[in-house]
Symmetry: C2
Subunit: 628 residues, 2 copies
């Protein structure tokens, strides 16, 4: 077990980072009201609430998967012998949230009279308390500051980041505010660009930090320490906010090691930077990726994956081997209390939940509560109620109440609910973790299948007769091998990040009659390939690196080299097909020798047609709502 929370130092005061608006928000005095609300027998004609009897919903119900629907990865720690037999896609339970449950414990009272009424900004009590416990005891059992972090529910991670901007960033306008006050946001060169669209209207300066194969670089020119130590104040305020994805980075698929995290954290601590860790894919770490990649490449196998996070005398267990096997969060290093973590149910349940949570030191969470009261108030009770019912284990008392409810109140059209209510048990934390392990297994298998196909197609082998004029069948052949693209197998997340070697294309640097593209260098060739892949017979849509470039310079210099492929979105039967069509399309593109074909592709990209706009057109196509 971890040392007692009280042996630890408290987190540092971060209030100097608050925006003016955040500082002005009044503290809540709701606790002073509780004594009135809670007077036994009081009739409350103060609050402007509609009565629950006027809600048209008498129940909310669902068919929901059992936790073992999907098969974990073969080396799933808690199920070493995991086999297909543990998977049963049809296995489901019937959930029912009744109108009114006669239960005095608000943490167990999951009913419509509470879930569909006005509620607290921190979240629906049963769900909030489950998330809080899961976060503090299972996900981050080792937070180094006293009493550990707090949580607040959000309407998903985008909402969480919007509130984070509201918490830390003051609006800045050129000509109105001094340049020395211009806020900055640190991020990698390639970044989930929706966060930049969120930040830039505030006048935020995006400050890209170089990465290497292991993620954001700390040392060296353009690394984090260089950027911060050599900051030029005439360009704005030294950035005090960092945005990053550490497990299954979007778009690069990198898993940041604990060692690298420690280096980054130390620099952030030195320069007083708040770290915003956005982890939609935190459970998608692929233990087999290194070995399978080596096999596919015919290289020597790396040492068996050694989890860096096995419980040790200095590290507590999460209680679940699966969670222990995941690289721990920045929160596990957060002695200062400068880490804000964004979690979401978008990838563990569904994006349409619009439900997630923020984890940070208590003083920051208190400010998030005030922001939430003035904006979203709370996530929808429809999703909070149904997710509560899904993840919480039914106590015997609740089960009894439910089945009584079912017998008494459910109409004949769902009379069978009585039985299902009797047999129902929620997932509980162990079921949720098992569900995650099943999803991880499913996504890892998809990733492996796609990468094998891509590896197989990454080179173009051309054979030409050494003596073309010879008619002899025995003429020797010259075999040339061209690398079309290269990449590392992703160690986590949902994406494969490919570098296309467009400089090996036959039309590379070819003169082009189009005055906008006098020469076919990287940007136009890259955009043309994206469009080419959508044409028959390839018909496959990928995103280009320009969409993820942190600024125009990176877009121009590096962005055109990359493509991002998502192995999560397509139907199961299309996973292999999509990779095959991609390979086929790239191969055929390298056979294009007519400049006019490339020109035609570029014409598909719309009126603006400028090279710079190629990236922008695509990056602002609204992919944000496609979950990029």
């Amino acid at each position: 077990m971890a040392a007692s929370h009280h042996d630890k130092p408290p987190p540092l005061d971060m209030s100097h980072h608050y925006s003016v608006i955040t500082k002005r928000r009044q503290p809540s005095q709701i606790k002073q009201a509780y004594k009135f609300f809670q007077i036994p027998g009081i009739l409350n004609i103060a609050g402007g609430l509609p009565n629950v009897e006027f809600f048209p919903f008498d129940t909310l119900e669902a068919q929901a998967a059992k936790p073992k629907r999907w098969t974990p990865s073969p080396n799933h720690p808690s199920e070493p012998a995991a086999s297909a037999s543990s998977s049963d896609p049809a296995a489901a339970n019937h959930l029912a949230v009744p109108k009114t449950l006669h239960e005095t414990d608000p943490l167990k009272k999951i009913d419509l009279s509470t879930a569909l009424q006005y509620g607290l900004a921190q979240g629906y009590p049963p769900l909030y308390s489950w998330v809080r416990q899961f976060t503090r005891e299972n996900l981050h059992p080792d937070t180094p500051y006293r009493d550990g972090p707090e949580v607040i529910m959000t309407c998903g991670a985008t909402d969480g980041f919007a509130k984070t901007l509201s918490l830390f960033v003051d609006q800045w306008t050129e000509g109105v505010n001094d340049i020395s006050e211009r806020p900055g946001l640190l991020c990698e060169h390639f970044v989930y660009s929706n966060v930049l669209s969120q930040a830039q209207p505030f006048g935020v300066q995006v400050v890209p930090v170089k990465s290497d194969a292991s993620g954001m670089a700390v040392k060296g020119r353009g690394g984090l320490e260089d950027v911060l130590a050599n900051w030029d104040p005439s360009k704005g305020k030294r950035p005090n906010l960092m945005y990053t994805v550490t497990l299954g980075h979007n778009p690069t698929g990198i898993v940041l090691s604990v060692e690298r995290k420690k280096e980054i954290y130390d620099v952030c601590s030195k320069f007083d930077v708040i770290i915003v860790e956005d982890e939609p894919y935190w459970y998608l770490q692929f233990p087999s990726a290194a070995v399978e990649e080596a096999k596919s490449h015919g290289q020597p196998l790396p040492p068996a994956p050694q989890s860096p996070t096995q419980p040790t005398p200095t590290r507590s267990s999460s209680g679940y081997p699966f969670l222990d096997s995941l690289t721990p969060s920045f929160l596990s290093l957060d002695t200062d209390g400068r880490v804000v973590r964004l979690d979401t149910f978008s990838k563990t349940v569904a994006p349409g939940c619009r439900l997630g949570w923020i984890t940070a030191q208590p003083a920051l969470i208190e400010r998030y509560e005030r922001i939430t009261e003035s904006t979203t108030q709370q996530p929808s009770g429809f999703v909070q109620g149904l997710i509560s019912e899904l993840v919480l284990s039914s106590s015997p008392q609740n089960q009894l109440a439910r089945s009584t409810f079912s017998r008494l109140f459910l109409s004949s059209s769902s009379s069978s609910s009585t039985d299902s209510a009797k047999s129902f048990t929620g997932w509980d934390t162990s079921g949720f973790v098992r569900w995650l392990a099943g999803l991880r297994g499913s996504y890892e298998r998809r990733m492996t299948r796609m990468c094998r196909i891509l590896d197989h197609g990454s080179t173009l082998v051309s054979a030409s007769a050494l003596h073309p004029s010879s008619t002899s069948e025995w003429s020797p052949l010259a075999v040339s091998k061209t690398t079309l693209f290269s990449y590392s197998w992703p160690r986590g997340g949902m994406f494969i990040w490919l570098r296309a070697h467009l400089e090996t294309h036959p039309l590379w640097l070819a003169p082009c009659p189009n005055p906008r593209f006098p020469v076919l260098n990287g940007p136009p060739l890259s955009a043309a390939l994206m469009v080419w892949l959508t044409t028959k017979p390839f018909r496959v849509l990928v995103t280009t690196g320009s969409m993820f470039s942190a600024n125009d310079e990176i877009r121009k210099e590096e962005g055109w080299k990359y493509y991002r492929i998502c192995f999560a979105a397509e139907a199961e039967e299309n996973v292999d097909r999509a990779a095959e069509r991609f390979v086929q399309g790239v191969h055929e593109f390298w056979k294009v020798t007519d400049v006019r074909v490339v020109e035609k592709m570029l014409g598909e990209l719309g009126a603006s047609g400028e090279v710079r706009a190629v990236g922008e057109d695509v990056s602002r196509l609204g992919w944000y709502n496609m979950g990029c």
Copy 2:
């Protein structure tokens, strides 16, 4: 029918009102992407979406009321003979949203593969299109500008107002920004105070406008015209934003007449003010209030209520007599396109929906879409999917698909869903309107019952023997009648707004030993009465006018006079009891002649204890989330 939309002038350009942040938000270029998304047979490995098969929910279901569950008001236009027999509290349908519906029309495709996936900022297509049609054709058939208003779904009206602040208000800070730029917000003297808590952290100056018995005053000292025409620029920028509730005002219960709206609109047009109309109670207009009030007071009956909004040659019908009978929105007068209306499902379905919509001219809605993309993205698909299923009429095709789905995929625990799916039809617009009429009837009956009891108890009759020393049973009595409180019956909404005549209390202006309250004037007596009412045997909690006072001056001068009573929140069996206990408590309070009793009540309000803090303590108790 209305004149063709194309005969009307277009709305004015309001972009000079946009905040700097709003101006900086980039236009969406998603339409340029559609051509790629919509290529037949394309495999989309671009977007970072999880596949629907990995969502643990196989269905979402609910038991939901039939539209006629509640009895309309007796004079409900479409049901003149409405009787108790039309009410059936148990009547319910079973709704089921299947995982994947094979339906090509996105407006009819209500399934989890769409509702629980990433979606568009404007809202879930089936619900968005229904709300848009309902808003444009039924609620506001007469919008005067060309092509009419657009809509966008929100996470409720608080979210809608937060986005409205983001759209129109620039952060202002004393000492940083010039006073001439300080933004202002016009509102009534008594106002739903959560909107002030939302606005003030931005540096917004709250600018109260006087009201009379008919609502916000236009003429006279302190009226709207006076405030704007005589604006002193040394106090800030002349306000360009107004917040108001026009139908069932919170807290005053006033319904603003069309005539008054026209006067207000003309002044707003003259001074270029954006009107934000927040209408959570828009369907709760009480046709019987004037007559029943006169009856209860023993006064001559007023003329039969003449709806100001019957269709005329110059006014289109909404298509529903119930909707025609409601006072029309500012939108119906909005020649300029300066009205932003906030709607919510909080009171028509349930507060926990966190679902509503904004209606305004198209250019404003486009900006709201950009704001939404960067904050909430979209309301939860759980509530959007289930509300779609509730309000949309099933097409025969959908019904067939549903019943096929049920037979094939629903597990035995809900096998009976097959039948319910076959018989299911959604409410459709007519059912939704009928549901609203039933709610209106229910709330109107509650209001009438409470007001009758309050009327009966509004005076204290004291009898004392003219000759107290006399022992004769025949001694004549002197009867004194003291008015304890007075009010108008609310013409709409959920609240009764009482003025307590504390100046008739025996301890009025009594000296008090507490140094903080040397004399028992309005504020301490008012606060003491609020606490007194929570004690045994009254045990009833009301809100004081200080909670709704637009600023400290109003709180001190007027706020203490008022109490707001909500007749919507309590259980049916407690409606009369709450009013009775309130009356009893007030009567007993007037019998208190010991200053120490009042002092003790004030002690319950906590440490701050200052008169000014009495209002603040209560106003910041977090009632916002009690739906105030």
